[in-house]
């Protein structure tokens, strides 16, 4: 059986039982309608209606700071490559974030493989969580077809009112169901209810940008020299918030940190941002993406164009984080809408499904 249900009153129990033998992380409310994935031990700590967390779950797959090797040069260039990992269960991953993890999986399993990422990924169990309605006005998950689940989880929870219906996608997921012993088999009525919910969602989630999905790559093929990039460049403060919160931005810097003995130490990587002026600067001062406009364009092309050519997949997950976080109010939906209009590819039928 692929589907089971969990009564809501058993949810607390479920999380506590999970937390008994593994670390569980889930969205926890911060102030000002902000949320963050944090360790929890009971269901009560988990936020109920949460919008995408400040940082996406990528922080568990490629941490902000990650040791790649330790070294000791007391006797020559001696290094020991390492991987740091933690077994954990990631609960409450929205469909946009599931897509984000799928993107990162592609990047890091492409040769040459990134074994640090792959090891860490193999230790994490993912429990997805469906959005029955929009989180807020920044999301554009319908545009990129991420408003419904497209795999990438072990278990997937959907809220049906008094209970959750849970899709079991993997053996690891099934083991959780078996072990926690709180679930019941889903009946015909539950499955109907799930179907009805998905049907209702089709009406709620209308394309946020008036463009036919298939035409998105074409829009970007033609927009390289658009003046819209200049407009963004004038506004952008190069703070790097948009790339740091992006579930599919994975650029990093590699840094050596010796200890005070100046002999031992570590080599680690840290998230880096193509929005920063130093990112493409080489010794001597030449920068290959000197203008803010070019850096903004690069960011968008790394979501809507380059990965489409390479992985046949959009790397924008529609989560809306970049727009939500930008104090200069650079808004992805608005930018793409403007680009679409400029190319005369506005879909007149949009929003009338």
């Amino acid at each position: 059986m692929q589907y089971v249900t969990l009564k809501k009153e058993r949810f607390d129990d479920f999380i506590s039982r999970l937390a008994q033998d593994k670390k569980v992380v889930a969205p926890v409310a911060q102030d000002n309608n902000a949320y963050a994935f944090e360790p929890v031990t009971s269901g009560r700590q988990i936020a109920k209606d949460y919008i995408p967390t400040i940082l996406p779950p990528k922080k568990y797959f490629m941490p902000q700071y990650e040791t790649l090797a330790t070294f000791n040069i007391g006797n020559g260039q001696q290094m020991e490559p390492v991987v740091e990992y933690e077994r954990m269960i990631l609960f409450g991953v929205r469909t946009c974030d599931l897509a984000g993890i799928q993107c990162l999986n592609m990047v890091f399993s492409e040769r040459p493989k990134d074994h640090n990422y792959l090891v860490r990924k193999s230790k994490i169990i993912i429990i997805g969580y469906e959005c029955n309605d929009y989180c807020d006005e920044y999301a554009s998950c319908r545009l990129v077809h991420n408003h419904t689940p497209n795999g990438g989880y072990d278990l997937f929870f959907t809220d049906l009112g008094d209970k959750f219906i849970v899709h079991i996608n993997t053996q690891a997921g099934d083991e959780i169901i078996e072990k926690t012993k709180l679930f019941e088999e889903a009946n015909e009525k539950d499955l109907k209810a799930l179907e009805a919910l998905r049907e209702k969602k089709r009406k709620i989630f209308a394309n946020e940008v008036p463009v036919v999905h298939e035409n998105i790559p074409q829009v970007f093929e033609k927009s390289y020299n658009s003046n819209i990039w200049e407009d963004l460049g004038k506004k952008c403060l190069s703070c790097g918030n948009c790339t740091n919160v992006c579930p599919t931005c994975y650029c990093f810097d590699v840094i050596d940190e010796p200890n005070l003995d100046l002999k031992t130490g570590k080599r680690y990587r840290r998230w880096d941002s193509c929005q920063s002026e130093t990112f493409a600067k080489v010794a001597g001062g030449e920068s290959f993406r000197e203008e803010r406009a070019a850096r903004q364009r690069h960011r968008y092309y790394r979501k809507f164009k380059y990965p489409v050519d390479k992985f046949a997949r959009l790397f924008c997950t529609g989560c809306g984080r970049c727009s939500r976080t930008c104090m200069a109010k650079i808004n992805l939906k608005e930018t793409v809408t403007a680009l679409v209009a400029e190319q005369g590819l506005t879909d007149k039928k949009a929003g009338k499904e």
Partner: protein, 287 residues
């Protein structure tokens, strides 16, 4: 439930402990290194590829392999101390300059796509190098010389700031003496002993006689040079796909991941650093 740290066996970040066999201060800012991998293991590189050179606690930087793969048992690098050269940065290159024979460096690689040697076989070659460009190009030039029969006409054009800045002057002299190599040098600023040309490298190109359809132009130099040299080569009717460039970008991982070296949708470290002009002309960010 805690963070575990374990040794990662197949890490792409693992360095090999290599030993410096020989060094030579070539100019005030450039130093030569002959390096051997543990046990004399072969680096097994293609001309035009690079290695990531490490000093643990200081950092890592991409450096072109200057020796030909026909040289076995060790390989050669030339490092510019960028701090001294430009007055800023130069963390790793400055530290490398302090090393001598017997010292160790960490090596990863070779990385990237070098010059397409197989495709070049049987064709005429026009090498154009300015500044540090001769360092990676030397790998290919010496490879071609060691397999001279397999290639057509060979012409080398070199440019540097002053005669004192000329790298591998002795070797350049040897190339010049060969009857199967045409060589021409130019400097920005001459001294009384200088007998060659004075002026930009681009000024040497019009004087070269060549059969464009069977000639490959191979160009390596500082970023600003490419635009002008390519223009001259195109004037000579060399087809776009027969113009080869080696591009320089900020690099960190060498693995096509960290994003620093990206030029539109290619990664200079994996897809390059050697590209043909018919490709790069479609990358607005390339030259």
């Amino acid at each position: 439930m805690t963070l575990k740290r374990v040794i990662l066996k197949d890490s792409e970040y693992e360095i090999k402990r290599a030993r410096i066999l020989r060094t030579k201060q070539m100019t005030e800012t450039e130093k030569y290194f002959e390096i051997q991998l543990p046990g004399g293991e072969s680096l097994d590189h293609e001309p035009g590829q690079f290695v990531e050179v490490s000093l643990l606690g200081i950092g890592e930087a991409p450096i072109s392999i200057s020796s030909s793969p026909t040289k076995r048992g060790s390989f050669e690098l030339v490092v510019r101390d960028v701090g001294k050269f430009t007055g800023q940065g130069g963390r790793l290159t400055g530290a490398l300059h302090k090393l001598e024979a017997g010292d160790e460096v960490g090596i990863r690689g070779p990385f990237g796509k070098g010059f397409p040697v197989r495709i070049l076989e049987g064709n005429d070659l026009l090498f154009v190098a300015a500044g540090l460009g001769v360092v990676p190009l030397r790998s290919l030039i010496n490879y071609v010389i060691d397999n001279r029969r397999d290639f057509g006409k060979v012409t080398i054009l070199l440019g540097c700031r002053t005669p004192q800045n000329m790298l591998f002057a002795d070797e350049v002299n040897e190339w010049n003496k060969r009857l199967d190599v045409n060589l021409n040098c130019t400097v920005d600023k001459a001294d009384p002993e200088w007998k060659g040309n004075v002026g930009l490298i681009t000024s040497l190109i019009p004087g070269v006689t060549l059969e464009p359809e069977r000639t490959f132009g191979v160009v390596v130099g500082p970023p600003i040079m490419y635009k002008f040299v390519i223009k001259e080569l195109l004037k000579k009717q060399i087809p776009e796909r027969q113009i080869l460039l080696s591009l320089e970008r900020h690099m960190k991982c060498g693995l096509g991941k960290c994003g620093h070296c990206q030029i539109n949708d290619v990664y200079c470290c994996q897809d390059g650093p050697v590209f043909s002009y018919d490709k790069t002309k479609n990358f607005p960010e390339a030259v």
